[in-house]
């Protein structure tokens, strides 16, 4: 890709060539391209069998039953279906939700929509390390709390929450628990039973699968009710109408199957790359790591360079794909709400780079990044007021 070094794997990832191959088996005229709902003929049943294999692959990653898996167009839809769907279904039970200030907009904006519909939402402030303590959740629960939504891994700083502890707490208190695992699924272990997760949102494109496909795992015992968002053909047990995109679903399943099989190896290798990157960058003075130092996903590193303006730093790295924060926050200049929730000043939040590593990054790329970023930081600092020379 024009010799640009891609360090933005938290925004999206390249599709693994093995996943591409599996997708290709479902596209062209000689492939299994049929509509998986057309079980009245052989091509339809072949497509259906592939979809069900993918469903089993998704379920296996999080120790769920395949019947729990509802395919969606990604984690945004899965988060919305979970939060809006469950709240609207159980609205007579209670109108209070608990979430955190550092959630993804797919969760925050779904919560805001519920506020418009008469719900009340408590937004917990994490500690300076990005962690939301289970005790904070516990303190926020009310008799009318319907649902707690807490992300597994934060997309900007990479911090991993203790979703198991929060899940067990919610289960005890009879409160539904939703986890946005867009950034964590396939990278850190998850178990919907052990972690007492009622609703789990997954997406393929953060783990070397295709964009535009994801899943929501829905508790079945006892069965959890959801009001669907898309009405129509009645696919996915009526919870998500629309023709199932065989190649996309197969891409999701294959990506997650590979992620499950290679999780330990990838985590070790990518974690080592991140350490190498951090060692190189932290040799500079005035460099801060954002988020808890150890409770984190291997691939994401958020670094603040004090005294360096963020947009100019990004500008100085044309050979690299890196991000100043969430991929969704495209409007430059607005400091990240996640970093602010952690207590960083606007100025420091603005001086932050998110570097995110994936399966295809190498030591050499990391070394090039360190070299270039260090030089850029030094150059920008050298022209800033208050320097000599």
């Amino acid at each position: 890709m024009n010799d640009v070094i891609y360090l933005d794997n938290a925004a999206t990832t390249a599709v693994d060539p093995r996943v591409v191959d599996a997708m290709l088996e479902c596209l062209g005229p000689a492939a299994d391209f049929a509509n998986p709902s057309s079980v009245g003929h052989l091509p339809g049943r072949r497509a259906r069998a592939r979809v069900e294999q993918a469903r089993a692959d998704v379920a296996a990653l999080v120790a769920a039953d395949p019947a729990q898996v509802i395919f969606t167009s990604g984690a945004t839809e899965a988060d919305n279906l979970a939060i809006l769907g469950a709240a609207r279904f159980y609205r007579e039970r209670g109108r209070h939700l608990v979430t955190s200030r550092t959630e993804h907009p797919a969760v925050l904006d779904a919560c805001r929509q519920l506020e418009r519909e008469g719900f009340e939402v408590t937004y917990l402030k994490p500690g300076p390390d990005g962690i939301v303590e289970p005790a904070q959740v516990e303190a926020a629960l009310r008799s009318d709390t319907l649902l707690v939504s807490l992300m597994h891994v934060n997309n900007e700083i990479g911090v991993a929450q203790d979703v198991g502890a929060v899940g067990r707490l919610c289960r005890e208190r009879g409160v539904l628990f939703h986890v946005d695992a867009a950034q964590g699924a396939g990278k850190l272990p998850l178990d919907v039973n052990r972690d007492c997760i009622d609703l789990l949102a997954i997406t393929a494109h953060k783990v070397h699968g295709p964009k535009g496909v994801g899943a929501l795992c829905v508790r079945r015992e006892p069965r959890l009710g959801l009001v669907p968002m898309l009405h129509g053909g009645g696919q996915e047990r009526g919870l998500r109408s629309g023709t199932l995109a065989t190649h996309q679903v197969v891409g999701l399943g294959t990506a997650l199957r590979i992620a499950a099989a290679e999780m330990q190896v990838d985590a070790a290798r990518i974690g080592a790359l991140r350490e190498r990157l951090w060692r190189g960058l932290s040799a500079l003075p005035g460099v801060l790591l954002n988020g808890h130092p150890t409770r984190r996903v291997p691939g994401i590193l958020s670094v603040t360079f004090d005294g360096v303006e963020g947009e100019s730093l990004l500008y100085a790295l044309p050979g690299f794909a890196v991000s100043s924060g969430s991929a969704c926050a495209t409007t430059s200049g607005e400091p990240s709400y996640v970093l602010r929730a952690l207590g960083r000043s606007d100025r420091l939040a603005q001086s932050t780079l998110r570097l995110s590593l994936g399966r295809f990054n190498t030591d050499a790329e990391v070394d090039r990044a360190v070299e270039t970023i260090v030089a850029a930081v030094e150059r920008l600092r050298s022209v800033a007021p208050g320097q000599s020379g």
Partner: protein
């Protein structure tokens, strides 16, 4: 398919490549400085101009800010050479906005540049207001 970053025009790119004019002069009787902005605002500049024969003979900048701001500072250094005090006092940020194709969202930062230029005029050597 043109995929140049549409946020930055040619002049910004040219200026950012070298940041020509960066630096400062040691304090001296013929040096006028102008300061404006601060880091909390996201843009800060320090201009230092050597004055001779009633005009700017040489200038330098130090700046913290986005590429438009840094490039505008560098551009300004060329623009200042030969300028008289009244020109600086009257200088309008719109000239930089045009030269550097600065988007409207960033006009506020150019006002900081204008403040710095006017502050040089106020600090002109041998002027009453020179201590601000």
């Amino acid at each position: 398919m043109t995929v140049d970053d549409p946020r930055y025009g040619a002049e910004v790119r040219r200026r950012m490549a070298s940041l020509a004019g960066a630096g400062s002069f040691a304090p001296a009787p013929d040096i006028a400085t102008g300061l404006a902005g601060n880091r909390e605002q996201g843009a800060e500049i320090e201009l230092s101009c050597r004055i001779g024969d009633g005009q700017v003979s040489e200038a330098r900048f130090r700046a913290f800010g986005c590429p438009h701001f840094l490039a505008a500072a560098s551009w300004l250094i060329d623009r200042l050479r030969g300028a008289r005090r009244d020109e600086l006092a009257d200088w309008d940020w719109r000239e930089a906005a045009e030269a550097l194709e600065v988007p409207a969202a960033k006009f506020g930062r150019l006002l900081i540049l204008q403040d710095a230029v006017r502050s040089v005029a106020r600090n002109w050597p041998g002027t009453r207001g020179s201590t601000v």
